[in-house]
């Protein structure tokens, strides 16, 4: 049984270490020695999560599949360079995110640039503030909720989406996200805040409308 969430307190993210099992380092060590069965076990553990990551970044199934395949192939061929100073999964996420970002840049060269200067902190105050009711999650069937969330994340600009995906969905730390994307920690924080506020505002349209119908 899991422990209950503390009441009236922020909910810090679960640590990525919750993903890793205790025997992971044994599998990694065996895979480094060329044991493809051990590597295959690592693939079996993480393939669904890595596909989710590449899909969430690229929002294109073909690119997501290619990025996932290349991420696993590259992780195998570079396994000797993995010095286990981080979790294998975190290392794999960084490889997969880079593969996905490469494809996103190719497909949307004018819409995606991590090189842009950090945005100023102006105009952050939300404009649409309405009550969502006690539990919007319970007002929608699961499939309907998935459709809403997919639509909403699709419309988030890639610059913000990749930061949100790495930080909030994949639960990388701010520093890991900055290293993966090659941007500064303040840039990650700024974009994460904006991504969260934009997503809230987009969800507000669905949840507010549902509340008034």
């Amino acid at each position: 049984m899991g422990s209950p969430k503390p009441l009236n307190a922020p909910n810090p993210h679960r640590l990525p270490s919750s993903v890793a099992r205790e025997d992971e380092h044994l599998l990694v060590a065996a895979a480094k020695r060329g044991d493809t069965k051990a590597f295959e076990e690592l693939v079996n553990r993480y393939e669904a999560k890595i596909f989710r990551l590449t899909m969430n970044i690229t929002r294109n199934r073909e690119d997501a599949e290619d990025a996932m395949q290349d991420a696993f192939l590259k992780s195998y061929s570079h396994l000797k360079n993995f010095h286990e100073d981080s979790r294998f999964y975190t290392w794999l996420v960084r490889i997969a995110a880079n593969e996905a970002l490469m494809r996103l840049r190719k497909r949307r060269p004018n819409q995606f640039s991590l090189d842009e200067p950090i945005e100023g902190d102006d105009n952050l105050i939300p404009q649409e503030i309405e009550d969502w009711g006690p539990s919007p999650e319970q007002r929608f069937a699961q499939t309907e909720m998935h459709e809403i969330l997919s639509n909403v994340i699709d419309t988030l600009e890639p610059d913000f989406r990749v930061v949100f995906v790495l930080r909030d969905i994949e639960e990388l730390s701010t520093e890991e996200t900055a290293n993966t994307l090659g941007i500064s920690v303040p840039a990650v924080k700024s974009r994460l805040l904006r991504a969260r506020l934009k997503l809230r505002q987009k969800l507000n349209r669905y949840f507010r409308q549902a509340g008034t119908n």
Partner: protein, 79 residues
């Protein structure tokens, strides 16, 4: 602390990255400001619904092709 300050620190607050005094300042403001309280609660819920949704499943054909590629390129025996 005003509404601007709260929104600027919103992510740090949700992630538990604020010093105790700053956290208390925000919570004092939230006790008084209904709009900020809604934004903070809704933003927290926004993060949670995306975390919990498992929006993307790995399709069987994509999984099969991945394992086929790995078998072919790594020379393993496969499953």
């Amino acid at each position: 602390m005003n509404c601007d300050d709260v929104i600027r620190e919103l992510s740090n607050y949700l992630d538990g990255e604020l010093a105790l005094s700053a956290k208390q300042d925000i919570e004092g403001h939230l006790d008084e400001c209904h709009d900020c309280k809604l934004v903070v609660d809704q933003t927290k819920l926004t993060v949670e619904v995306f975390c919990d949704a498992k929006l993307v499943e790995l399709p069987n054909d994509v999984k099969s092709r991945l394992h086929e590629v790995l078998r072919r390129k790594l020379g393993g025996k496969g499953n």
